[in-house]
């Protein structure tokens, strides 16, 4: 059912309170409600983007170029599925595995723990096909990458279901403004409407599902208001925050008629040998012929033995130009973090986000290694030749006129084997709290290179199973 904030029953104790109605929140709520449990979902926004809601995402970015935080996510029912591209692929097994050259890029669970939730997550997101990975034999692999069109807006897709549900109570325009813990268990949360109505919600279990920045911001704030009794070992809280750097890294000359969009990357053993992280190299045709002629001439100049071939093929329109892009895994580092702004507050008096984000030497090395390996693969396999931009090869300034990042907010409440090295355990439960859980990409200890929504939903469904099985 859908109720107003002032209609929240004062004395009811729900089995589960989910704070946030994005893909993670919707997935976990449905999974628990399907087992007959009572669930209340508190969504800060409305059904559509609303300025009063959106402005609470304002924040400051310190470091490399980044998008405005106010617009980098959607604060409405359905969350950022209101503006996503509908793309995805599961994280690779190596993303979970120990990597001695980057010890922090390791999960306390392996990929097998996620696999049972792949098909249900694909169904939830309307991904139809399976994921194929083709080994190319020279340290490279070609990776299946799904695009669902149109991308499902999960708010619009599930609102009628939530309205009709007897197990789920949905409250819109309910902003989390208070949380009380006795040091072991969360007792209640307080929400406020934009008209300053207040309500207190009691539940047996609570899930934070507010997104890859807000989960950290609100935990930091409520840890302060609870005098450090919410996250008692806060060393990692807000830290190890990650994005997927996303740039055009080069150009290629390939035979005309080459399959339009392809995604490549190094195989795990090659990554281990090079001591780098994961990356997806995506290539697709450049639409203009003039660019083709320009880069083909460049190639002919530097590779005289190819010159006559290049001009002949170009005249016969048998070659085309391709743009080479990369989206890659960022090294999880404590210095990249969500912090609380000491001065600026949102309209409910909670400190705004101060996001610290930079690229590291490892981040640069990762894209360079994958780019070089890909370029050699293209030449060795007779597909063409690849030019890699100077900033990739020699570490120059990052291009300003590019996408830069992928709007994938990960880390900050990372999953870990101990309270000292993370914020949640392998069940996504906050260390030291009996009944507070986190859903979403903020729990990712490392982010691989793929769009995170599919993995977010896999983890949320897994969390839903865990919560549904907890004794009353």
């Amino acid at each position: 059912m859908l109720i107003d904030l002032n209609a929240i029953p004062k004395d009811r104790v729900y089995d589960l309170c989910v704070i946030g109605g994005g893909p993670a929140g919707i997935a976990v709520a449905r999974q628990v409600a399907a087992r007959g449990k009572s669930v209340i979902v508190l969504e800060a926004g409305a059904m559509e983007v609303d300025e009063r809601s959106q402005q609470n995402f304002r924040g400051r970015v310190i470091g490399n170029a980044f998008f405005d935080l106010e617009y980098a996510r959607i604060r409405a029912f359905g969350g950022s599925t209101a503006h996503w591209g509908g793309q995805g692929r599961p994280l690779d097994p190596i993303d979970f595995a120990a990597k001695p050259w980057v010890p922090e890029a390791t999960w306390p669970i392996d990929r097998a723990a996620m696999d049972p939730y792949l098909r249900p997550a694909m169904d939830f997101l309307n991904f139809k096909d399976t994921y194929r990975t083709e080994q190319l034999g020279d340290g490279m692999q070609k990776m299946g990458f799904k695009i669902v069109n149109p991308p499902p807006h999960l708010g619009q897709l599930h609102i009628e279901e939530f309205k009709a549900s007897k197990a789920i109570t949905l409250v819109l325009k309910a902003n989390l403004t208070g949380l009380v813990t006795d040091g072991q268990k969360v007792q209640s949360v307080e929400v406020q409407s934009y008209d300053r109505e207040r309500a207190t919600v009691h539940a047996r279990d609570f899930v934070f599902a507010m997104g890859g920045i807000e989960n950290s911001r609100l935990l930091l704030h409520f840890n302060n208001s609870n005098k450090g009794q919410l996250v008692k070992a806060p060393q990692a809280l807000g830290r190890y925050w990650m994005e997927h750097p996303n740039f055009t890294i080069g150009e290629a000359v390939v035979p005309a008629g080459t399959e339009k969009v392809r995604v490549y990357g190094m195989v795990p053993n090659a990554m281990r040998d090079a001591r780098v992280l994961n990356c997806g190299i995506m290539v697709h045709p450049v639409p203009t012929g003039s660019r083709m002629r320009t880069i083909a001439r460049q190639l002919a100049c530097v590779a005289p033995a190819l010159g006559s071939w290049v001009y002949e093929q170009m005249d016969r329109q048998l070659v085309c130009a391709e743009q080479v892009r990369a989206m890659w895994e960022q090294e999880p580092r404590a210095v990249n973090r969500v912090a609380l702004d000491a001065k600026a507050r949102d309209q409910f008096g909670i400190p705004q986000t101060e996001l610290h984000w930079t690229l590291s030497d490892m981040d640069r090395a990762t894209v360079k290694a994958h780019a070089l390996r890909y370029a050699q693969h293209v030449a060795r396999s007779g597909q063409g030749r690849v030019k890699i931009f100077d900033w990739v090869l020699n570490g120059g300034p990052l291009p300003e006129n590019d996408e830069k990042i992928s709007w994938h907010h990960m880390g900050g409440t990372r999953m870990s084997r101990s309270a000292e090295t993370g914020v949640v355990d392998a069940d996504c439960k906050v260390w030291g709290q009996e009944n507070l859980f986190i859903a979403g990409s903020s729990v990712f200890p490392s982010g691989g290179w793929v769009n995170p929504t599919l993995s977010i939903v896999q983890l949320a469904l897994r969390l839903g199973d865990h919560l549904a099985a907890r004794p009353a």
Binding site: E51, Q54, G85, N149, R275, H284, T358
Partner: protein
């Protein structure tokens, strides 16, 4: 300049972007040619000027742009790089 300093209310252009994406603006062709689908936004939103200027001027972290990559990535024997082109020596 900070992100907060760049931001205002959600602009009409950005509302248009959200709407376009809700209506399937990230269609298969657009996504395929957009490099992971974000160019649709950059191309259709007038907010590009807003979001592209977010380097925090003078912050220590911004200087890391110029840091050289950490690990060496030597090419295998028999390969060279000329003006960025990765070539087998037989091309020369």
């Amino acid at each position: 300049m900070t992100a907060d300093g760049c931001s205002g209310v959600v602009s009409a252009a950005q509302h248009g972007y959200h709407k376009a994406m809700q209506q399937g603006g990230g269609g298969s062709n657009a996504v395929g040619e957009s490099g992971f689908g974000r160019r649709q936004f950059l191309a259709t939103s007038a907010s590009l000027a807003v979001v592209s200027g977010l380097v925090t001027a003078g912050s220590p972290a911004a200087d890391s742009d110029g840091v050289s990559p950490g690990a060496a990535q030597p090419l295998e024997p028999g390969w060279v790089i000329r003006d960025g082109w990765v070539l087998p020596v037989s091309d020369l």
